[in-house]
Symmetry: C2
Subunit: 152 residues, 2 copies
């Protein structure tokens, strides 16, 4: 089962982001919901949230050189860096079907397929990609993802 999950994650990474990883444990952690135990995706989501924030801010900083800080914040970033938006991309990538849930969550998987669970997994995956590939490569992966599933 574990080997199957690992292979499933490798395929997920390869088909969505164009790479296979040598640090599979990072992605298993990123895809483990907090219902499943103490080693879950919360810490990676904490990191990934900041990774995405910097990439998104730099994207708009560069793309919109005439916009003020206030406009960039309220008309762009505040609308993009939301659980709803991240969950929408997660849903497009079918992230939820790879998430490991525990206890009652696992007995009612459909109910657990909500905005928070999806958004956290999305942030956590980008925390994992950042630790695996570094910042510059992660930025390229986000920009490629944005060409495939426009979200910026």
């Amino acid at each position: 089962m574990n080997n199957t999950w690992e292979e499933e994650i490798q395929n997920f990474l390869n088909s969505n982001f164009g790479f296979r990883t040598e640090k599979i444990d990072l992605y298993k952690e990123a895809l483990t919901h907090s219902s499943s135990g103490l080693l879950n995706n919360q810490r990676l989501a904490f990191l990934g949230d900041a990774v995405l924030k910097l990439i998104i801010r730099e994207h708009y900083f560069t793309e919109l050189p005439d916009w003020t800080k206030g406009r960039l914040t309220s008309h762009k970033c505040d609308l993009i860096e939301t659980d709803e938006n991240y969950a929408k991309i997660a849903s497009n990538l079918n992230i939820f079907e790879h998430i490991k849930l525990g206890g009652t969550y696992n007995n009612h998987r459909d109910d657990a397929n909500n905005t928070t669970v999806n958004a956290e997994a999305f942030e956590a995956i980008f925390g994992a990609i950042y630790l695996d590939k570094g910042f510059v490569e992660t930025k390229k992966i986000v920009e490629r993802l944005n060409r495939k599933i426009p979200f910026l």
Copy 2:
């Protein structure tokens, strides 16, 4: 006057961060308060805020492997990533004396030496360093600064 300011900024960067820059305009922008005109440090502060957030989060993510997301957020990051804290470091670095102010601000420089003006300049300088040196080098500069003026 402009040459003097440029030389002053180069000396500031060299003595505090150990480098001189070939992109002086970035740092002039980072040190220009919004009272001084449309090209000011607000946009760089918007970027630098996210640069610092990621560096600080990764620092604690790595240093405190057993801490939960909630504890990392409320007992560390929420206390570190504040205007007050950034202004304190800015004050330690005497950033304010290099800031270009406009109009009444410039006529009452002492009154303008407040938390917001200092914190914005601090964030903006790290926005400039990031664009000048890239993420990995900026992270090293923050860690070096933290050994000199502990703030993490």
